[in-house]
Structures are given as structure tokens and as C-alpha cells.
Amino acid sequence: MREDGGSEILLDVMGLDVSFQTRRGDVRAVNGISYCVRRGEAHGLVGESGGGKSVGVHAIMGLLGTSSRVNAGSALFEGRDILRLKKGELASLRGREISMIFQNPSSYLDPVFTIGSQMIETIRAHDRSISKGAARSLSEDMLWEVGIRDPERRMRQYPFELSGGMSQRVMIAIALLCKPKLLIADEPTTALDVTTQAQIIRLLKNLQSRSGMAMLYITHNFGIVAELCDRVSVICGGYIVEQGSTDDIFYGAAHPYTQALLKLIPRIDSPKNEPAPSIGGPPVDSVSLPKGCVFRKRCPFRMDICSRDFPPRINLAPYHSANCWLLELGKELPGDGQNG
């Protein structure tokens, strides 16, 4: 594990605030989140579905629809604010500097083109000077790199001929074709079964350590974070409620929401008759976002103050912080013992 200071900052997101206009009113999906990804580092964004983790990242990449609005914030990538780039500038950044892989690979591959033609097109879209033949051999090398056995045959196949795990490997290969500095992975293994998931995670880990690329990994599964990430931001209801190194979060979780999420990790060795862990109550409704702490309705330790104001950010250690009134008031967290 890297020291806390870490390397140079590659992507610095500050105060990002995104909302959607709907008939029910504005949905405040992301509320001033800040995080940074350093060179060569894997940063995990963790939270339940509907928590705003995907929206926060899609906004940076300019992938949100017309009903969305970025109200405030900046996202500096190597010093340039990508939220204020022109369309063309953003297009040349995407794919070349920042690539993305998604949850459901089969819906992102074009069903009417072969894998090969999609890969060659990707390379040539970014650099016309590369010949088709050169692009083909680059693509085959990349397929081999991501663990595909017979690249020549796969290049001629259509997406429907591939299994889920194979499609995800192809997606990763396409994402890496232009050697990006940052790979954004939006729940890439959620649709896969555990054995394939384990393979994809090992693959990403290897590729990352070999190429030194940074990674922003969105997931709801803390088990994957333990395997893959150096640093973690926990998102709840569009707010970041805790941030820290992976060890800080796993062995010193300070926010009740983080603790609840950690208990949801599927464990094979837990006693059978113990009730299945769950976070009581429904996730936050972002239309009528409550005043005060977003987690308070489901929090086992809620106090009066929690419904009045959003808790301030408390620094617990260098680079480890959490937003919770319990910490501000200096109260011991009853559930903390089992994590420490």
C-alpha cells in the first residue's frame, strides 16, 4: 500500500453538484462532492444504487442527458477543468486520456459490427495516421493482453457470440486501446458471476500495476474495494460521508453508513443462523432530500441535531475524514469495536 501522501493528483473533483429536472421537482442527485484520484492509484466510489455515485462520474465525462444540470463545481484533469471544455476538446479527451467501462458490456458493443471492426474504428477515430493493418495487429495484441485466447478468431465474431465475461474483456480491451491515464469502471462486474468477477478483478489489477494507469472504480461491493482500491469515498444520498485509505475505512470506519455497508459484504464464514444483514429502510429519496444528515432516517444512532444541520467534516487522521455529528460531539460509536 502506498503512503498516505501518495503521488501527484491526476483528477481533482471539487464541489460537484448535479441535479435532474423531473415532473416531481428537481432531483438533487449529487450535492457538492469532492474527491481526487492520484496517478497510478485506484480510487473506489462506494454506495448503494441511487446514491449518486454513477451520476457524479457520468457528469464529469459529459454523458448525462439534457434533463441534467451541473450546478456547481469543477473537475480538474491534469490542471484543466473538463466541465468547461468545448465539445470537441472533451471528445478528444475521452477515450484517449480517460476511458470508461460499464456494467452491461453487451449493451455498449454495437451488435451489427464485428469485435474487430469496432476496435479498429476506435483506434483510427483517435489517430488517422495508423493504417488499418497496424490497427488490426494492435487490437489483436490488446485482446491477448486482456486474456483472450485466440484474438484472430474473436476479431471476426459479433458481440452476441461472446459470453458475458468475454464481452467485458473486449470492453476493457477497447477502453485501453489508446493507453488512457485514467480508467473509469462503473460496476463492471455486477452482471457477472463470481468466478468471472474474480478473473476480471485480477485482470484490472494486473493491467493497472503494469501500465501505471489510475482507476476510478464505482461499486456497491466493499469486497471488491478490498481487493482493488487504495483509497475510498463512501457516497450516500449524493453526499460523500466518509473518505480515507482502504485500511482506514475497513479497520476504522467512522460513519454509521460505512459500517452498515461493511456488514453487507457477502461472507462465506458467518454463522448460518445469524440474520441476514441489511440497512433498514429505503435509500434516500433525492427529490425531497431531508434537511440535515442524509442517513439519519436509517441511522441507529440518530440524535436531534442530525435533523437540523448537515454534519461538518471531521478529520480523523491525515486523509481520513467523515461527516457525522457523533464525531463532532466526541461520542464513541457503539458499533465501532468490531471494525477496529
Binding site: E48, G147, L264, P266
Partner: protein, 325 residues
């Protein structure tokens, strides 16, 4: 295992389902999706079935209900051979809950109407108010508010949709339910709730489950016994605790290792070498089906296909090395 004492509710013997695959380049070939699987399920028991996608566990579940016709073997339900009979009288006794609730609920039907189909089939002569009470009762059984009956599937969350899928299966008052990956499409926090609901229903209504999932940690939470499938064969069958804590088959051990580590320390300890992920096994012509990926394979594994044999009381494993490893 007192549940196993009397005659099993369901007994399948050497069940087979083959598919013919036509491929322009390679011509016809046969995919042995389920290849001679035998097992029993006792009354009120939950048998878990794990394996990776493509191992035939869903096909097996569907073949038991004869939603797909088996190509060989026999199915005995409650003492009667149902392999070739008309299934109609059995449809109300054997039900299924599917993986993706949004796919299997008609988007144009209100929730109430979806559930009503089962109610009407079971009790066609109900008065209007009895029928309505029945529907509300079913919604209550799965912890949904009665006003859900007037909503459409897309208005519900994934967890709520899966509850509707369960209520629909319960509408005909079945005794046996095949749960085909009922929680795989759901968020972690909803997964736990659905598992709890299924366990609670089993206790209240005396249900018997065949619980299919690729996730061993989920299966284990639900099941009394677990069967592990690999490429159409059952490779291990034992009490849930034995499968998890004393796995006998190398493939079962690989499945357990594939579960992400619960914390960073374990993850770092675990980062050792793994078999080449490039291996694309397919079913070998002879020998053990797992031999090409198996870390303990010996020459005999490439020649003899092992049968499911007992390694200790109630613990069966199909491995040439048996319990000797």
C-alpha cells in the same frame, strides 16, 4: 437431517437435457447442458444449487418443472413419475421465481392483475370481494402495501418487483418453488431482505425450495444442503456447512476462493498465483470435466470420468482423488 427421514418430495434420476448446436464453421454439435444429474429434495428442505453461468443449473431447474422437456432420466414428484404426464395438475403445486423481475412481469399489466391470474387459476369461483381480499392478502404476505395492486411494474423498485414475482408464485398455493437466481439482479441491501422473506415464507407455509444461484455465500444462507454443478454434472452434494467448510471437490474450493475477500488484509494474503484465466475448457471428450483447470489433476483424470460417490455420510463428491487429497 430429520427432514430427509421420510420419502423425498422430489426425486430426479439421471436427468439429461441436450441441445443441438448448429455452427456454420464447425457443423452440428451436441451441448450436454444437463448430463445425468440425480438428486432428492426432502419436504420443507432447501436444496441450493451453485455453479458458474453456463453450467446448466437453470436448465436443470426448468427441466424439473418440465418447462423444457428433458431428454432422458426421470422425475418423481410426491411418489409419482411426472416425466411424461400432462403437467397441468402439477402447475399449482410446483412454481418458479425468475432471476430478473423486470423481465418477467408484463409491463402493461397492473400488479393486481398479474397476481390475479394465479388466484383465478386456483380458485375460479371467488366473489369479487373475496378475490380482492385474496390479492391484498398475497401482497401483505410479501410485505407490500395493498395500493401496489394498482401500480405498474415499472413504478416499483427491483426489490419490490421481486416481491411481486414471489407473490405471483404463491398465488396458486404451491408446495415446491424453484428459485432461479432470485436475488442476483438486486442491490445488496435488497438481497438480504428477499432472502429473509423467502426463509420466513418457508417457515410459515412449509415450502420446499430448489434455490439456484452462482453466489455461494447467498446459497449458503438459504440452504440445508448444497449441490455444486460444473458443466452439466453435479460434482459435489452435501450439507451446506460441509460444502463451505470441508469442500471435497477442487472446483468447489475454486468457487469459494472466487468470493471477494472481506477485508484488505485477507485480500493481500490471497494474492497468489492463479491458473491461467485464458483456459477455455469446454467439455473434454473423456475424463473429468474439470481436469483442464484442476490444480490437483493426475493422469487418470484425463481418462476416467468420476461418478458421484460418498466421501463421508451424506457428503458426495465426483472426483477421482475422492477424499484422499
Amino acid at each position: 437431517m430429520d427432514k430427509m427421514g421420510d420419502t423425498p418430495l422430489l426425486k430426479i434420476e439421471k436427468l439429461k437435457k441436450y441441445y443441438e448446436i448448429r455452427n456454420k464453421a464447425r457443423g452440428k454439435s451436441i451441448l450436454r447442458a444437463v448430463d445425468g444429474v440425480s438428486l432428492n429434495i426432502g419436504r420443507r428442505e432447501t436444496l441450493g444449487l451453485v455453479g458458474e453461468s453456463g453450467c446448466g443449473k437453470t436448465t436443470l431447474g426448468r427441466a424439473i418443472l418440465r418447462l423444457t422437456e428433458p431428454d432422458g432420466g426421470s422425475i418423481t414428484y410426491d411418489g409419482r413419475d411426472i416425466t411424461h404426464i400432462n403437467m397441468f395438475p402439477y402447475r399449482s403445486r410446483m412454481q418458479i421465481v425468475f432471476q430478473d423481475p423486470s423481465d418477467c412481469l408484463d409491463p402493461r399489466c397492473r400488479i393486481g392483475d398479474i397476481i390475479a391470474e394465479g388466484v383465478d387459476a386456483k380458485a375460479p369461483k371467488l366473489s369479487k370481494s373475496e378475490r380482492r381480499d385474496m390479492i391484498y392478502g398475497l401482497l401483505e404476505t410479501v410485505s407490500l402495501a395493498p395500493d401496489c395492486a394498482h401500480r405498474y411494474p415499472h413504478e416499483l423498485s427491483g426489490g419490490q418487483q421481486q416481491r411481486v414475482g414471489i407473490a405471483r408464485a404463491l398465488a396458486v398455493a404451491p408446495e415446491f418453488i424453484v428459485c432461479d437466481e432470485p436475488v442476483s439482479a438486486l442491490d445488496v441491501s435488497y438481497q438480504a431482505q428477499i432472502i429473509e422473506l423467502l426463509q420466513d415464507l418457508q417457515e410459515r407455509l412449509g415450502l420446499t425450495y430448489l434455490f439456484i444461484s452462482h453466489d455461494l455465500s447467498v446459497v449458503r444462507r438459504m440452504s440445508d444442503r448444497i449441490g455444486v454443478m460444473y458443466l452439466g454434472k453435479l460434482v459435489e452434494l452435501a450439507k451446506a456447512e460441509d460444502v463451505v467448510f470441508h469442500p471435497a471437490h477442487p472446483y468447489t474450493r475454486a468457487l469459494i476462493e472466487a468470493i471477494p475477500a472481506p477485508d484488505p488484509k485477507t485480500a493481500r494474503e490471497r494474492s497468489r498465483t492463479h491458473a491461467d484465466d485464458r483456459a477455455d475448457p469446454g467439455i473434454p471428450d473423456k475424463g473429468c470435466r474439470y481436469c483442464r483447470l484442476c490444480e490437483c489433476a493426475v493422469p487418470v483424470c484425463h481418462i476416467d470420468e468420476p461418478e458421484l460417490t460418498s466421501v463421508s455420510p451424506g457428503h458426495f463428491c465426483a472426483c477421482n482423488l475422492g477424499h484422499k487429497q
